[in-house]
Symmetry: C2
Subunit: 127 residues, 2 copies
């Protein structure tokens, strides 16, 4: 590795919740945070709500299927932090990551990445 | 609440680890991330290493005492995400937060806050 980090920003912190409406209400009533994007992501078996925090997001996730990874995480660990997504300049070059996805909301130069499913000392990904 | 979020930035994502040296090596070797600050925080019973990601940090935490909250988290949940710290403009006004600390690294206008110990739907704090 060189001496420049591949991680250019924290894109999002994902929080697994049982009840998306209740979680949205909690963040709105407690901190004034509002939903800026909401989407069902069939591939991942989740519905997500994004709350902007500066240039990053809190990503609230709730399962839409019992076999989704988020449903399994809720069953075993309960509600709470699920993973962190980092932005990288070069998704193709980030081969050490398990998952690297070009983000539709940030443009092609700021894809985000998560090392989903990988466990190592200090690994920020729980799923 | 008004319609403006109190959360002005993600200050840090904290990751509980058993072995701080191994975690630092993992982030360096995998992503090129380097330690920018390191400190023993006696009050919290932890040693921390901060790795800058843009204007935010990955905060690696390892306990220095068996009775520290991070030691308890490692014993019950294992390594992984521990909490998220958000910046707020007005620490005194953020009374809904359990913990709000003026950050020495960000200046008085960008204290950070965590709702440590509080559990609610979607609460990002695990500790």
């Amino acid at each position: 590795m060189g001496d420049v980090s591949e991680l250019t920003a924290i894109d999002h912190v994902a929080v697994a919740v049982h009840d998306l409406e209740a979680a949205i209400a909690y963040y709105r009533d407690t901190f004034g945070a509002e939903v800026t994007h909401r989407e069902v992501v069939e591939r991942d078996g989740v519905e997500e709500a994004l709350l902007a925090v500066a240039d990053s997001y809190i990503q609230l996730l709730t399962p839409i299927r019992d076999d989704s990874p988020v449903a399994k995480s809720l069953a075993t660990r309960g509600e709470g932090l699920h993973h962190v997504g980092y932005r990288v300049d070069d998704c193709a070059g980030a081969r050490r990551w398990r998952s690297c996805t070009r983000s539709p909301r940030s443009g092609p130069s700021s894809s985000w990445s998560r090392n989903k499913g990988r466990r190592a000392p200090g690994d920020p990904t729980l799923s």
